[in-house]
Symmetry: C2
Subunit: 130 residues, 2 copies
Amino acid sequence: MKHPQSSLPPGFRFHPTDEELILHYLKKKLSSSPFPVSIITDVDIYKFDPWDLPDKAASGEKEWYFFSPRDRKYPNGTRPNRAAASGYWKATGTDKVIVTSSMVDGRGEVQENIAVKKALVFYKGRPPKG
Amino acid sequence: MKHPQSSLPPGFRFHPTDEELILHYLKKKLSSSPFPVSIITDVDIYKFDPWDLPDKAASGEKEWYFFSPRDRKYPNGTRPNRAAASGYWKATGTDKVIVTSSMVDGRGEVQENIAVKKALVFYKGRPPKG
């Protein structure tokens, strides 16, 4: 395991809020802007099984962060392909909208939806058809 | 409020374990060794009320860390004096022993008690006698 975080002073950890993850990491990733710090590894998580992922993370003890490409089931469709090494990932629960708020001069606070957070569960075996 | 932590990259926070607090911060404080980073302020918390303390912290959103001197009720006694600005602090619950474990060559893991963590509750008004 590589742990760049171990070069941080003791007691410091990468514990981002959803808003920080989107604004400071994912948005910069998408626009190829320079990163504040390379703490999130590029890993195609669908090529692996979940128990192999922690070793591929740049840091973390109970949570691990990755940038992973999305795949589609059908080239022209929108349905995601979430088959993984020896199983598949399936969405569960309710998506959570991630909101950022900013102060606009003279108009008070403005809220903006910036992302949707999905929870996926891993199932062993072949994904069901259809 | 001063927030040195805001100079950290986004998503990084000071979230130490009890063991880290003792070994990397309190022990160094007591031996006047150099610190990894000045994230814990010296504040005599008994001179203030709890709601005034967050502003005096070097960082933190829901938790704040201070080094504070202890005071005694009687010069030759061991009972602590925990009177504060407009009230007093009183111990509650069970003390938690903080343990560190280290590997000793050929003898496996050795555990050592390094500190006791107390929870205090703040009460308004004058401390009860006796």
